[in-house]
């Protein structure tokens, strides 16, 4: 059988990726520019016996999928900035209670109602630090529909592997643009399924005692093990405690299980990086313009390369540091006030060589914009 080829919006590519990954429960609330994901789910999920639930708001949407994840389902919700703001408390709950789930934020201009039908990448730091308290988070992004599909599948794999919420930070341009998507055959992309406990009924089960590899085998609600799930600091049975040793141990576990595996979670693509003397770092729809500039300059012999990030959090500091070590300049192309540029500055040996090429007016940054920034950086003026 040939792979199925479709001409779709990025939002549909995300929905298709989720279904490929085994999603069978979605709850959401309509919001531009993410709504097509919910619409797609409402059509597709009942066809496979899955459930689509339209909740009263975004808080309820994330709450509902956390509930459904506990019964063993792969779950997702999708939203945009204002809805993502509302979800932050429940996102922290999923971090604390270690609930696998995927949260899509198709970014639009903010703050507040902002620029609902226009592109932005302004929620990068919100994805990292939107919920209160120390924690680690995984956030992925993509610049084209094939990659949107792929990182969506990976989001589910990471959520299951590390028992964590994963944020998919797409943007309005990728979400609404139409282009080709080839659906991989089943099995072409490996899937991580829920790790279930092998502890039999009647034997003491510790839902929050990590195995040696750090993973936590789960028991479904409704199954033979009855345990407690809480947003409070808790012991290995899930019961609340304020014992300082246990509090510190759990917090360390929540951070370490992500940060210590950042090399495994790091997804990125390299274009013409081998001999690049100047480097662009970009992600999402901005990376499309960045790639255009790189290819154009290469055709004229200029040693310009692109490092396209797909994993934004945990930030791949080592990858960025290593790839940028010999570069004369590093220009971060993004549609915000420098949220990833700050991380790049923290990663490289010489922050002075890091520049920001950005646009924050709701319009996709163009190759011409980037070329102009490069000319200024190189001291040539526009």
């Amino acid at each position: 059988m040939n792979n199925q080829v479709k001409f779709v919006q990025g939002n549909e590519a995300c929905a298709e990726g989720a279904l490929y990954a085994g999603l069978d429960f979605f709850a959401g609330y309509p919001i531009t520019p993410s709504t097509e994901i919910a619409e797609r789910m409402s059509i597709q999920l009942p066809k496979i016996g899955g459930k689509y639930l339209q909740m009263e708001d975004e808080i309820a949407s994330l709450a509902a999928i956390i509930g459904a994840s506990l019964t063993g389902h792969k779950v997702m919700t999708a939203t945009s900035g204002p809805g993502f703001s509302l979800m932050q408390e429940a996102l922290g709950f999923a971090v604390m209670a270690e609930i696998p789930c995927v949260i899509v934020n198709v970014q639009r201009g903010g703050p507040s109602t902002g620029n609902p039908t226009h592109v932005s990448q302004g929620d990068v730091n919100q994805a990292r630090w939107g919920t209160h308290g120390d924690h680690a988070i995984v956030a992925l992004t993509a610049s084209n529909h094939q990659d949107v599909f792929r990182v969506t599948v990976e989001a589910f794999n990471i959520a299951e592997t590390y028992r964590t919420p994963v944020v998919l930070l797409f943007d309005e341009v990728v979400g609404h643009m139409r282009e080709k998507l080839t659906i991989p055959e089943p099995g072409e992309i490996p899937l991580v399924e829920r790790l279930k406990t092998s502890v039999r009924g009647g034997v003491d089960y510790h839902p929050y005692l990590p195995r040696e590899d750090g993973r936590l085998p789960m028991s479904d609600f409704g199954g033979v093990h009855r345990y407690n799930v809480t947003g409070l600091f808790h012991d290995m049975w899930g019961f609340p405690t304020d014992n300082p040793k246990i509090v510190q141990g759990l917090l360390r576990h929540l951070v370490d299980k992500i940060e210590n595996n950042s090399h495994k979670i790091a997804m990125y693509k390299e274009y013409y990086m081998e001999d690049a003397r100047r480097i662009l770092i970009s992600y999402g729809s901005a990376a499309r313009s960045a790639l255009h500039v790189v290819e154009n300059r290469r055709s004229r012999g200029e040693r310009l390369g692109l490092l396209e990030l797909q994993t934004l959090w945990p930030f791949p500091y080592n990858v960025v540091k290593e790839r940028c070590s010999g570069a004369r300049s590093v220009t971060v192309v993004e549609m915000n006030k420098g949220q990833i540029a700050d991380q790049v500055k923290a990663a490289v040996d010489d922050p002075g060589k890091v520049f920001l090429a950005n646009r924050v007016d709701g319009v996709l940054i163009t190759p011409t914009d980037i070329r102009n920034f490069l000319r200024v950086i190189q001291g040539r003026g526009i």
Binding site: A60, A64, N228
Partner: protein
């Protein structure tokens, strides 16, 4: 099965204050469950935040202690994903009707088969006695030192208007009735709301000079009357207790199964 078999006894004595009505709710909720002959594995309890919500930690079911006000939303996802689970959602009055008010009315509207227990002690106890949306006009609280000017909700009227298909009210004084009503609520195939008037002697009682826990229970006996009683006609200020609504309407999970059937038929 004795009700102690439903408890996680290692956490007793519980953390509630002496005389707190929440323990009476726990006591009689378990008596109701005891009569139903369900296995503990068939029951999930989902709660939010507050004194009332700590009830989930004490029972040996599948227990999910969530965030403030959102218990019904978590429970809706849990129930939809596994409709064979019996889902019970105990909430305080602030949890259910202030921060969680929106989830409350929408859960009523959907008619999803769950049991919402509103443990109404008319105060925020865990934070130290601030007025709640159920405190009522003219009461005193730590944040209403010059008397409260906020009017309260009528939980029963609200639930009925929002579409709940089982709506009842009882009190901790009427413990036997409470167990009977909770039993009916759990077996009802739709969204059930049971308001349980309960005493907070530590804050509501003390602030409003209502005496000790026993005095507060006596008071709840005096200010309530069975639904449709003559006494209500003579004294309209009396609060009715009993079952107000108990009707059959299509249940949400069953309705969604019809959606699945339609979607599968539509597929070529």
């Amino acid at each position: 099965m004795a009700i102690r078999d439903f408890l996680r006894e290692r956490f007793f004595p519980h953390m509630w204050c002496p005389g707190c009505g929440h323990g009476i709710v726990l006591n009689n909720m378990l008596r109701a469950i005891q009569t139903l002959g369900m296995s503990k594995n068939e029951i999930a309890m989902v709660s939010g935040i507050g004194c009332s919500s700590r009830i989930s930690g004490y029972v040996d079911f599948h227990t999910l202690h969530t965030i403030h006000g959102r218990a019904l939303a978590f429970a809706t996802g849990l129930k939809m994903s596994m409709p064979e689970l019996n889902v019970i959602v105990p909430m305080g009055d602030g949890d259910a009707l202030s921060i969680g008010g929106n989830h409350f009315i929408h859960a009523c509207r959907r008619n999803i088969a769950m049991t919402a227990l509103v443990m109404n002690n008319r105060i925020y106890g865990m934070t130290g006695g601030q007025f709640s949306p159920l405190s009522g006009y003219g009461t005193l609280a730590t944040t209403a030192p010059y008397t409260n000017i906020d009017h309260g909700f009528d939980v029963v009227d609200l639930a009925i208007s929002a579409g709940a298909t089982f709506v009842a009210r009882t009190t901790t004084y009427h413990a036997k009735q409470m167990a009977d009503i909770i039993r009916e609520a759990i077996i009802h195939d739709g969204f059930s709301v049971v308001e349980i008037m309960t005493q907070c002697p530590t804050y509501f009682g003390r602030k409003n000079k209502l005496g000790d826990a026993s005095n507060m229970m006596e008071w709840m006996k005096d200010i309530t009357t069975p639904v449709g009683s003559k006494a209500k006609e003579e004294n309209p200020d009396l609060i009715e207790r009993g079952i107000f609504v108990q009707k059959e309407l299509p249940e949400y999970c069953s309705e969604y199964n019809k959606v699945i059937e339609r979607a599968m038929k539509g597929r070529s």
